[in-house]
Amino acid sequence: MEGPFSNLDVFAATLVEAAKTDRDILVVTSDSRGSGRLAPFAAAVPEQIVEVGIAEQNLVGISAGLAAAGKKVFAVSPACFLTARALEQIKNDVCYSDRPVKVVGISAGVSYGALGSTHHSLHDFAALRAIHNITIVAPADNFETREAVQAALRLDKPIYLRFGKKVMPHLPRVNSQFELGHASLVRNGKDLAFLASGETVAPALEAAELLAADGVDCRVLSFHTVKPLDEAAVLRAANETGCLITVEEHSVSGGLGEACASLLLQHGQSVRFKIVGFPDEYTMTGSQMELFRYYGISGSGLAETAGRLRTNKSE
């Protein structure tokens, strides 16, 4: 794989390749084949794409019916609509009924930037974490995306895949194994750990590199799987660094950060800890990158947060 590409492009390309040899793979779209980069899929395997129109509830319900008949279904729609408007269908038709639909939220987080809060999904981790029987995955880069799509194909259980549309740099990794539920070690370090997810892993790594220049040795973990949480990796990072910053393109409520906080507290772990994400406020307007910078999800922003956290325990 060359590139880099957006994770969304890699998702679509991986799926086309798989679908050519597996006729049971179906994509179901809600007038979203363009935004899902699925036009090549439709051209390559036209009989394996089902259009339902702009009707997300129906998208998920139909996908559950198709999955019940043995199809490997990817229900693809913008994350903002899919995980809010169709939440009850995800909860009942997919999770509660145990239908192995691959629910794919595209242009997730604040990917739609200046289109505004209607088009942002800053609630999806929180909403889906509280629902039983679904794996939640937000890949950090092209490699994790390809691996996640293949893992989803092997998984006979409900799964939520969350993709942004920004071109993502290839991240280095200490170990090239990818396993759902196991955080990927992007950079090892002993002074502080960034526990990040999705498109925020790249800025976390930038911050680690900035901090390295100041002699601060940071660990960066990609929590591509938000649920089930890799508890061992969180606890190890806490034990070995004593200073954790979680980073996510999500509300600070109910996402990766609060999942880690809950785990640490219940394990009697008291460490320096900061959740970086979108605060509970009317979201500032702007592009994804502008919003990232504004809310401190950037190399320099995260490095500053790290500096404050290391010197002030109350941060």
Partner: protein, 286 residues
């Protein structure tokens, strides 16, 4: 081929089917009484539809329930689950004694159907979900060129859920003539008459406009239901929709057409009177 692969009970004649409906009503009332809760009115309005489907129409049995070529039945109005449990037990999907566990702690026999109960295709209970699932199941048959059929039972009150109309639009668009929808049109919902809560009519025209071939029948008449359900698809290339005009609480004089009986549990006296009425009806059929 199907008749061989999916044995029905063709020996059940009209009179026997009518008797089944009466016996089913007794069971429905008994388990609701025993379980201390249930949707009495809707179970009684829809039991004749389930009777005809499970005893004469569906190419489905406990033996073939996992067969990919089986007909599917999806009960979107999940709250009328006591009717479904009753018919499934009679068809041998599980021992009748399990019905006595309705609503008990740890029982799979809860107030809305789940796949933990053998014979249930899909978990339902939140309204407006069954039709999309049925459309997906029917679409899969078209994609795989299989000839199984999908039947969905919807309540009339639940038609206010917009998701039904999303699903209906898709069923029409994909010309799913392997899909047959039955509306239990009893005209009542928990607050009152459907037409007073939020008007549904003209349902016939609405579904036709969405691409369905629509028929109406007396939904508590076994011969009427048989005649229509045996003739699906009503029109090749279109999904079928049967507006089954039923009466909520049908079969028990003091429960019929009464909103009060939406989910009321009979008292000892009411239960006795209801069983007496059903025994009289039984005697008149036999």
């Amino acid at each position: 081929m199907h008749k061989h692969a999916f044995p029905m009970d063709p020996s059940l004649n009209l009179q026997q089917l009518k008797l089944k409906s009466i016996q089913y009503r007794k069971t429905v009332l008994s388990i609701i009484k025993h379980g201390g809760a249930g949707h009495t009115g809707g179970s009684l309005s829809s039991i004749d539809i389930l009777n005809v489907l499970y005893n004469r129409i569906l190419r489905l049995s406990p033996v073939t329930f996992r067969d990919p070529n089986r007909d599917r039945f999806v009960q979107s109005k999940g709250h009328s689950v006591e009717a479904l449990y009753t018919v499934l037990a009679d068809r041998g999907f599980f021992p009748r004694s399990e019905l006595d566990t309705l609503n008990r702690f740890g029982s799979h026999f809860i107030g809305h159907p789940t796949r933990h109960v053998n014979g249930v295709e899909q978990n339902t209970g939140a309204l407006g979900h069954g039709l999309s699932f049925a459309v997906g199941s029917a679409l899969a048959a078209k994609i795989d060129r299989k000839d199984y059929r999908v039947f969905a039972l919807l309540g009339d009150g639940e038609l206010a859920e917009g998701s039904n109309w999303e699903a209906a639009m898709t069923a029409g668009h994909y010309r799913l003539d392997n899909l047959a929808v039955v509306i239990d049109r009893n005209g009542l919902q928990i607050t009152g008459p459907t037409e007073e809560v939020v008007r549904l009519e003209p349902l016939h025209l609405k579904f036709e406009a969405f691409g369905f071939a629509v028929r109406e029948c007396d939904g508590n008449s076994i011969p009427d239901l048989l005649a229509h359900l045996e003739s699906v698809p009503f029109v090749t290339g279109q999904p079928s929709l049967l507006l089954a005009k039923t009466r909520k609480g049908y079969g028990i004089s003091f429960m019929e057409n009464s909103v009060r009986w939406h989910h009321r549990v009979p008292t000892d006296q009411e239960f006795e009177q209801a069983i007496l009425e059903l025994e009289k009806a039984e005697a008149s059929v036999a």
